[in-house]
Symmetry: C2
Subunit: 462 residues, 2 copies
């Protein structure tokens, strides 16, 4: 909560009035500070707020305190209201042990409170900002040449800035790492639509939920690892049916030297398990740029996972990438095995396919950039051609990521596949990206070895 | 961070000295308050701390302020130190844009700082509390009669209290819902080893990490849904190689009326994707009690998912339940399909098996209480007998839960199965537990229907 207090004061939100209903009781017993209103006031003031105490059962005093709150300039105001839980019903008033429990005598309680009443209060609905309703122009996405080395995180920033030029409803937020996520590219192009959220990922997601409620299209970014701090907020955004785009950069062991605390190896699992979410993981800059544009058109929580290192551009800037799609980068009717990756592992899979070709083994390579929703048809076709021999490879823990998405896609099919899942299974150490990929067993060499072993087994399909 | 400040003051930790190194700069630019030390002091004082300012580059002043910190009684102390980032190296001192970047001239910088030096400072290691080293006695777990209706969350509390009696190293923490999680049973039995963490799940996990570092065996509980608030802390506990037990209660749509924000439908996915974790989901009270005891012997992060509603006791109190195991509740050599659940869905699967038996379909029922690690052998045997026909059913989102654990277990086997995954796929509403289970398509009727459909298909295995 204090992240929110700090941000509201920092941004001088003097049109904001918060109310703390201090009824002294939690679910289980008294709160830390009970009815000590002065403590709430001191904390709010230390965080830059105007704070006003009130008897929360005195209607005239409440009316008066709201009037004073409106007059405040330069600061948000918090009204600290002393109340009694269950006020007016003797059986439960200010009593512990009744949280979330039905009353023994509900009719008696209603009578005690003065009988049935029917009071309607009209409150103003938030209005959608006029700027956010401006008609969009065509997006001029950045263009990268095939073979160029560009980090997908850089493409995120370039594409988001371009999107912001075409669409005045697009806003960006970042958690004090905009020079790493490349949200700063947007910030420089559209400074009045960029919100620096400092190191406060929970408040970043909360602010994005608020922005989308009044018609903006928010993109919020930080390191993939640090998004875990906001997991509860993302979960609740989904329950609230919010539409917002998240970007987690520096995902996977491919970040190298910074070590496991910064690697975000649980992001795909945790974001897939958010209701109605979309999870995307591009391997090249043009693909990343197109997916950023697609996210702005996507309902619900969409998540883009970007890479720290520069990767070779594989796709033409004119190629379109739809959500739910994939790309088959190598294929033939003689494919004996399919290698399925996303992000950094696509490049490793391509190298593995080269090595396998040298051995006379034809390997299909699939770029599964859309992990949720996933391209079931392309995966089923690969299983069909290869006799069910699939190798999945992901720079992520073995649980809940790309491999599990592939298994899920084929689970309820006529004849499922034999899937070897390569993923990070031991706690990584600090090292060069290629050392980390090798140590985790997800580099080209490990992929080729897994494929060779699988090809030597009998096919699952005729 | 303010959760930690609040708790330290609340518990009167006057042996704690914290240091805020105020160098004014973040990674990207200046922090919200820059060098405004007074703001940090005011906030710390409002949170009940003693706060002392110091020039962080003046060694004598630092020595003096530490002496004053030690003298403080009744309150923790924070030293707010004004520093310059990169102090003493002209090229970077107090300059933005150098965060996490190698210096252009490292040798010059070392020379500027006075040349190579070799200073060793011995600091005291935390000592393991004597109480925590007391020799354990045999655990007298609670015993429930077969057929009795007992909630697994109640068994958690009973078992934890029993464990606390046998083992003086066991401590419990809860996030202001101990009357729901039943941590209160432990709190009543062992009040001096119970820590009320109020509504501060992040700090609850942080405190558990600290407790285990000095030899205690912590169990931390809250609603499964609210553990998502602490996901970053759980992730970092794993990176720190901490050993602690978590319990998430009120998991799944079976909680009924409280609605989706309270349901914790992502807990298995997010906890499976924590390195080295153990994920357990008992369906009956005796099983829950034995698993609580097993968790106290388990390295790493272990997680127990408990249910709100009372469920029939299926197992004898004398039955042992190992981590990594499962139970086959119905089986024959003629099984045509296997129904695999955990928690509430075990009971639904048993009812479905009865309905299928009435149709002349023999269904194996597996209680997969250990979701990570998972019992691969029992699953493979079920696939073998049933011609690969498996129905998984879970009160959890379709991503990353029990179904995916089953798919993963069988992915790299000689002849994988045809798996129909029943899980929660639409945002649930409020309702009676049985209505919620039916609406989510995970009750006995839906399980039986899925099994009938699967049995009508050709077998995957000969």
């Amino acid at each position: 909560m204090w992240e929110a207090f700090e941000h509201a004061a920092h941004f001088g939100l003097d049109n904001l009035t918060a109310i703390i209903d201090v009824n002294r009781l939690g679910q289980r017993g008294e709160t830390m500070v009970g009815w000590d209103l002065d403590t709430y006031v001191a904390r709010a003031e230390a965080f830059g707020w105007n704070a006003l105490e009130v008897d929360g059962h005195d209607v005239e005093a409440i009316d008066d305190v709201f009037a004073r709150a409106i007059e405040t300039t330069g600061k948000p105001t918090v009204i600290v209201a002393r109340t009694k839980k269950g006020k007016g019903v003797a059986a439960v008033e200010d009593a512990n042990g009744f949280h979330g429990k039905p009353l023994d005598d509900p009719d008696g309680a209603i009578a005690e409170l003065g009988g049935l009443r029917d009071i309607h209060v009209d409150v103003a609905r938030p209005t959608v900002e006029a700027t956010a309703r401006t008609k969009p122009s065509a997006v001029q996405l950045p263009r990268y040449e095939i073979g160029e080395e560009v980090a997908t995180r850089k493409a995120y920033g370039d594409a988001l800035a371009a999107l912001g030029t075409a669409r005045r409803d697009v806003v960006a937020l970042d958690g004090e790492v905009s020079n790493s996520t490349f949200a700063e590219t947007f910030a420089k192009a559209h400074p009045n639509r960029y919100f620096e959220m400092y190191i406060a990922e929970q408040q970043m997601v909360a602010a994005a939920v608020g922005l989308q409620a009044v018609g903006w299209t928010p993109f919020a970014s930080t390191f993939a690892a640090f998004l875990s701090r906001a997991y509860d907020f993302v979960r609740m955004a989904a329950v609230s049916r919010a539409t917002l785009a998240l970007c987690g950069s520096h995902a996977g062991v491919s970040i190298g030297e910074d070590g496991p605390s910064q690697m975000g190896l649980e992001d795909i699992a945790s974001l897939r398990a958010v209701h109605g979410s979309t999870v995307l993981h591009p391997c090249d800059a043009n693909q990343a740029a197109h997916l950023v544009a697609a996210m702005a058109e996507t309902d619900g929580i969409s998540y883009l996972r970007t890479l720290r290192p520069a990767t070779p551009v594989l796709y033409s800037p004119d190629e379109e990438f739809e959500i739910g799609g994939s790309r088959v980068l190598r294929s033939s009717d003689e494919d004996e095995v399919a290698l399925i990756g996303a992000g950094i592992t696509v490049h490793e899979a391509l190298k593995a396919a080269d090595a396998l070709a040298d051995d006379g083994i034809a390997a299909r390579v699939i770029d599964l950039y859309s992990i949720k929703p996933v391209d079931v048809e392309t995966l089923a076709a690969a299983a069909e051609v290869t006799g069910g021999r699939l190798v999945t490879v992901e720079d992520h823990w073995a649980e809940g990521g790309l491999g599990d998405a592939v298994l899920d896609a084929l689970a309820d099919s006529d004849e499922p596949a034999h899937v070897v899942k390569l993923a990070v299974r031991e706690m990584p150490r600090s090292g060069k990206p290629e050392e980390c990929l090798a140590a985790a067993g997800i580099d080209a060499e490990h992929i080729a070895a897994a494929a060779r072993k699988l090809v030597a087994l009998p096919a699952h399909r005729a």
